[in-house]
């Protein structure tokens, strides 16, 4: 439920109940007041009847009054001298229909004779008055409430605008991008506080992330010199003329491990570099020519494994950083070769905006999300486990869409260059 709806629900329940209670009480009070007025009038009429009887010694005619009806009834003796006021219905002979009315019933002595006198006054006009009064009061109140509700709605919408903006900005915040969190402009204290808190958190996250990257970079760099020493010592050892078969095998393994460690380090550094956006010089790159060049470059590997390569390349150029795109093509192609079986096949399709690498492989469908994680690899893989992570990072940086699919025994990596 939206904040406004929740707020509105409570408000409308209170308003409606309040309106009903106040309306009821108002009606009651007004009714009572009107009754009292009629009663006063009836009493005045009664006094008039008494005066009339006293002065003229006759009873006034029942129809002689303008707005009341008077009835006399002879009684034997006075029993109840109280004046009784009550509501009733009576037949209005002038208007010829039943009307609600109020009467005064009392017993009194007129011309020395006890009478029961009943004076009836129509309430019709008074009721009309009440209706008018209530309408006059109720309609503005309702209109006022409606206006209030509308104003509330607009106001809340406007007041929460900074919040909405804040939310959009938080969503737009990306730790990988240079852009920092964009603070919003607002005068509202609460939003200011929220804004500041989010800004602080984002800056902290950014600086922490930067530190981690810096650490990775420094650690990798620091490792390069010892690696250089190891490498050079291995090369020196290799020159010794006294190497036996066994030592040579150990040496070969050491070479392999050192080379792997070096590659791992280089890949980590490359990731940091891509993360830091250090490769920014852009140029026009003929993708078709680049792919053909790389195919030529890897041809010995392809021939050795007896791989069938089908290429279907349209001429297509993109504007990007050359090193990044070379890494991209290199990784795609070397993966397609490395994870293939002897005699397998590779299909490369380049249409405008779209590059697809398909290859048969020793494995079935891979996990479409996990394969792009760092250091995710199957046990058989000799790689660093960073190749696809680098691929993903390059695509992320360049705003390319990278998708993995598995279709009819083919692993398929497709890149859309125009996803934005």
């Amino acid at each position: 439920m939206k904040l406004f709806s929740s707020y509105n629900r409570i408000l409308s329940i209170i308003t409606l109940t309040g309106l009903l209670v106040i309306g009821f009480l108002f009606y009651q009070t007004l009714g009572g007041y009107i009754n009292k007025q009629i009663d006063d009038h009836l009493f005045e009429e009664l006094l008039e009847v008494q005066d009339f009887a006293h002065v003229k010694n006759i009873l006034p005619s029942p129809d002689g009054f303008d707005d009341v009806v008077v009835e006399y009834k002879k009684i034997n003796k006075l029993q109840d001298k109280r004046r009784l006021f009550a509501d009733t219905n009576f037949y209005n002979p002038k208007k010829k229909h039943q009307e609600s009315a109020r009467y005064l019933k009392t017993e009194l002595i007129l011309n020395g004779q006890p009478y029961e006198v009943m004076i009836i006054a129509s309430k019709f006009e008074r009721q009309e008055q009440i209706k008018s009064i209530i309408l006059i009061i109720l309609i503005p109140v309702i209109v006022l409430l409606l206006i209030l509700w509308l104003v509330n709605r607009i106001l809340i919408k406007r007041m929460w605008l900074p919040f909405r903006q804040l939310l959009t900005n938080i969503k737009a915040f990306n730790i990988n991008q240079e852009k920092v969190f964009e603070p919003i402009q607002t005068n509202i204290e609460e939003f200011k506080a929220l804004n500041k808190a989010v800004l602080d958190v984002s800056l902290k996250v950014k600086s922490d992330y930067k530190e981690i990257k810096l650490f990775t970079e420094n650690a990798s760099h620091e490792m390069m010199t010892p690696l250089a020493v190891i490498n050079s010592k291995l090369d020196t050892l290799l020159q010794s003329n006294t190497l036996g078969k066994e030592q040579s095998e150990i040496l070969a393994d050491l070479y392999k491990a050192t080379s792997k460690l070096t590659k791992l380090n280089q890949s980590l550094l490359l990731l940091v570099k891509i993360d830091n956006n250090q490769l920014q010089d852009k140029e026009e790159i003929d993708l078709r020519a680049l792919i053909e060049e790389k195919l030529n470059y890897f041809q010995e590997f392809i021939q050795k494994r007896n791989l069938q390569v089908q290429i279907n390349l349209d001429t297509f150029s993109i504007t990007a950083n050359r090193s990044l795109i070379e890494i991209l093509i290199n990784n795609l192609l070397s993966n397609a070769i490395r994870h293939n079986y002897d005699g397998g096949s590779i299909r490369i399709t380049l249409t405008s905006d779209n590059l697809v690498f398909c290859n048969t492989g020793t494995q079935g469908k891979l996990h479409p999300a996990k394969i792009f994680e760092r250091f995710y690899k199957d046990n058989a893989s000799e790689g660093t486990g960073l190749g696809l992570a680098i691929l993903k990072q390059v695509c992320l940086r360049q705003n390319y869409e990278l998708v993995y699919n598995y279709h009819r025994d083919y692993h398929q990596f497709s890149i859309n260059f125009n996803s934005l």
Binding site: T225, D235, T236, S248, S334
Partner: protein, 225 residues
């Protein structure tokens, strides 16, 4: 040839000097900026191997100094930083090449010789090894005056072995020389075997002696025994 190694990591400079010394080469060594400064002022070298991060100064400052005093020593920067900016800065300051740590000594030696060749023979250098004749500019190989057709990679491989003659070159070093860093294929070591086999065949078919020697599956050596 005379080389100066400006490198604070003793283990590394020792291995380098061990590899380079011999066959008429002499190696000098400087572990600090000051030592490097002194040696560069006093002596002339065919090639200076310059580490960029020294305990008491920047290697690039030494390079600037060298250019200021108008020395014509070749300079090969060896750095742990694979930064394009630094590379461009170093090369624009007059360094001849830029090698990133870690490297294979054979690669280092090949680069040094390439620098020396460019500096001393204006790039037009023909390398002789018995009946073999290699034109590094035209990328031509001749056996007893007869041209042998080698592919680009085969030529690079042969040149790599000849400049490192009498040294054992590991398969890893050879692979990296030919395919660069991208060659992280599991079975890439086998390709070197195939490649060397091809080169060997082409050379021996042209009447060249087989100078390639396999060293227990770790590497190869190009030598006249």
């Amino acid at each position: 040839m005379k080389f100066l190694i400006v490198e604070d990591e003793e283990g590394l400079s020792k291995s380098i000097s061990l590899y380079l010394t011999g066959e008429g080469n002499i190696c000098d060594h400087a572990a600090t900026y000051d030592q490097g400064y002194q040696k560069l002022s006093l002596y002339d070298y065919d090639c200076v191997l310059l580490d960029l991060t020294l305990p008491d100064g920047e290697g690039l400052q030494l390079l600037k100094y060298l250019k200021k005093i108008n020395k014509t020593d070749g300079v090969l920067i060896i750095s742990a930083r694979n930064s394009l900016d630094q590379k461009i800065e170093g090369l624009s300051l007059g360094a001849d090449d830029y090698l990133i740590k870690p490297f294979h000594l054979s690669e280092l030696y090949a680069r040094i010789q390439s620098i020396v060749r460019r500096r001393h023979f204006n790039g037009n250098s023909i390398i002789h090894f018995n009946e073999l004749e290699i034109d590094t500019t035209a990328k031509e190989t001749k056996v007893k005056g007869k041209t042998v057709h080698l592919t680009r990679k085969e030529f690079d491989l042969l040149l790599y072995f000849i400049v490192n003659k009498n040294k054992v070159i590991s398969k890893a070093a050879a692979v990296e020389h030919i395919w660069g860093d991208d060659a992280d294929m599991a079975d890439s070591f086998d390709f070197i075997y195939t490649h060397i086999k091809n080169v060997r065949k082409k050379l021996t078919d042209s009447g060249c002696k087989d100078y390639f020697q396999s060293v227990y599956g770790v590497g190869y050596k190009f030598a006249d025994v």
